[in-house]
Amino acid sequence: MDNTVKRLLERLVRRIPSRMLKTTLDKWSRLTATQRQSIDYTESKWALTEKLLAICEENELTVKHIAELEMIHVIENPNLGMWHAFQLMDPQGDAHSVELTQFKEQFKSHLSELIRHVSIKIKKHTDEAVWIRIAWGDTFSRPNHLKPTYVVHYLQTPYVFLSSLTSKQKPLLSQALVLSTRYQAIKDANLSGRKLTAIRDLLMKQYLQVFPTKFPSPLAERNRVVSNLHIEKEQAGSAANRHQMACEAFGDGLLPQLQSAVYKLETKFRDHTNKTMTERDEPFRCVVKFASTNLLESLRHSASSGTQKVLKTVIRITIIVFCKEVSYVTITWYVTKSCRILTASLQVSTRGHQSPGRNSHIVMLLH
């Protein structure tokens, strides 16, 4: 049996937790019913690997089939590995009407043109996401299935998520993506992390953020148990206000789990008590990094406990900046209204990873 198949299968069985192995193999549906029943899932991983190798040899399965199995596992567990978000820019006329078969054909043909030996597998998931697994080879060697790149693209949106891509492979993949999706360029969205679901939700705004004009006060049952009657009574009014503002800014439900945000600020220092610094022409440079196990939750709690004065617009702009929805016109307006800002750039990540590479200079707003 091919050595690569062996290694790939061994590695895969090691990676998949025992409790999920059965369901993953069933989904794979490359094993007959008798074969599936003959596997004892309580055995050690090593014994399981041997058994599976024997079955695969029986069925004459190749690397491509094992790659399929790996893909199923990754799709089921998207929150492993490091994902980087990218955004496609400047759509051409028919960019919004690209549909699955067209995309598949175009992508495969473009990538195969750019690089001779490459193995591509495309699969559409139920939630409109197209998953692509790429094993890279070059002119002299066969595709390396042990280091595949995974790409997730949501059709009709400009967002692409990549994992495990080297810098040599990046231009080739970018070219293929751009051509097959009918856009003109692709750029780094400066958002990366381990939880694909979190960065996807943030980028594609799939979280509950309420910007209502009228927010009903929190129901009485939701309030905490009163610890000290006197203090609670005095603070009740302002506490309720703060809670309301926090909910308006952050929404009431689950927030996407960001772990860190880095702000690079080059803004003018203004303090009415300090004349020398205020009159200074050069900006005050500093870098601020927020870190927490769940950053937005911490900020929401700080807003409701009073350590932070939530200004809805500040948080809104921050979140919107992630989604790159603010047009330049709006930003300029904020710049002229507020105290003289120069630029600020923003890098956000989940799980502590800082995305390297160029920061987009996003102007932040101040009050």
């Binding site: 300090n274 500093c286 911490s298 932040m364």
Partner: protein
């Protein structure tokens, strides 16, 4: 037993205290009562900034002239865990060799769980050396710094392999409060600051030996907010002489889940901000910039400037949280009591600040 009068804030009550002292008894003065009379009157002494030196002279010292550069190299560029030590009873700088042997035997005995070990035995697996770092003290009242090093063979070493340094520590007193030092009875040596680096079990063994032999007490030294702010200001002040390369502060906010904010400021901007909050010098112009004394108000204004800049952008009040770490190219200091000095020129300034912190933390 005449106590020298110094320029600390004096109230009339102070002199009454001096009169009450009889010549026969030796009073163990509490550090707090040396600084203010309030404690004598029974008011609860608070750890307020008022008790600390409200102004310090900062000077970079070319201490390579005074101190052996090899000894100095042992102190800098490593991270030390700090504790405070109450004064040691009958500690003699002349008996260091005997202390080395005793400590070595103690450690070996503890490791072997109570078997008797010869003090003069040659084949102990731990070799301890006590040494004095000459010239590190600033005033004549400061006791000489003592350095303790433990060498040992690694577990699976070959026969001829040399012993390696596995633990080192030092006891020091730099610029200790002279009133307090003079109020100590004769047999006590005050070396309030203890720094250690190495395995935790060895640290606790060394501490228990000291406690047994010299009847002293060790305790963890937490560097509180005020001291961390002093260090921030002191390091920024040194920027023109030796670049600090960045000024990094880490704050923790008490929210659920806890939020950590790392605020790094460009050194040139930090220095300009610092310069802008300095009160104009009333002293003569020949005085060097860096030798001027720094007041607590200047430090407070500096920190306020940094925090207000942050507030303008993020609407988050940093003073609701806690400054837990300050670091720059000159060193780093953490709230938990870990300190690193990276530049030998500022060792004395940092150590005198920490000595004061230790003296204040001591319970007696």
């Amino acid at each position: 037993m005449e106590r020298p009068q110094n320029s600390v804030v004096r109230t009339p009550i102070e002199s009454i205290v001096a009169q009450r002292r009889s010549k026969n008894k030796s009073y163990r003065q509490s550090y707090r009562s040396c600084l203010g009379a309030a404690s004598r009157l029974g008011h609860a002494p608070g750890w307020t900034a008022r008790r600390l030196n409200t102004s310090r002279r900062t000077k970079s010292h070319n201490i390579t002239e005074k101190v052996n550069p090899e000894d100095l190299a042992l102190l800098v560029k490593t991270e030390w865990q700090l504790s405070y030590v109450t004064p040691l009873y009958q500690f003699r700088h002349t008996q260091l060799r005997s202390y080395s042997r005793q400590l070595s035997a103690f450690i070996t005995a503890e490791k072997q769980q109570g078997l008797a070990v010869e003090v003069e035995g040659a084949q102990t697996s731990f070799r301890v050396s006590f040494s004095v770092v000459q010239g590190l003290g600033e005033t004549d009242d400061d006791a000489e710094t003592v350095l303790v090093q433990i060498h040992s063979k690694p577990v699976f070493a070959g026969k001829d392999e040399a012993q390696k340094l596995v633990w080192s520590g030092w006891l020091t007193c730099i610029n200790g409060n002279p009133e307090y030092l003079h109020s100590l009875p004769k047999d006590f040596t005050c070396l309030p600051l203890f720094g250690s680096r190495g395995a935790e079990n060895l640290t606790s063994l060394v501490k228990s030996w000291f406690q047994q032999t010299f009847d002293c007490c060790f305790g963890p030294l937490e560097i509180n907010q005020t001291f961390l702010q002093w260090l921030t200001a002191l390091w920024t002040n040194c920027h023109i002489e030796s670049s600090i390369q960045h000024l990094k502060m880490i704050w923790t906010l008490p929210v659920e889940p806890p939020l950590q904010i790392t605020y790094t400021v460009n050194p040139q901007d930090a220095w300009e901000l610092w310069n802008s909050v300095r009160t104009p010098s009333l002293e003569s112009r020949e005085e060097e910039e860096t030798a001027r004394s720094i007041d607590i108000e200047e430090v407070t204004r500096f920190m306020q400037g940094l925090m207000s800049h942050f507030y303008r952008h993020f609407r988050l009040d940093l003073s609701a949280g806690r400054l837990s770490q300050v670091s720059s190219a000159l060193g780093s200091a953490k709230f938990s009591g870990r300190v690193k000095m990276s530049n030998s020129r500022y060792v004395l300034t940092t150590l005198s600040l920490l000595t004061e912190c230790a003296l204040l933390k001591m319970p007696i």
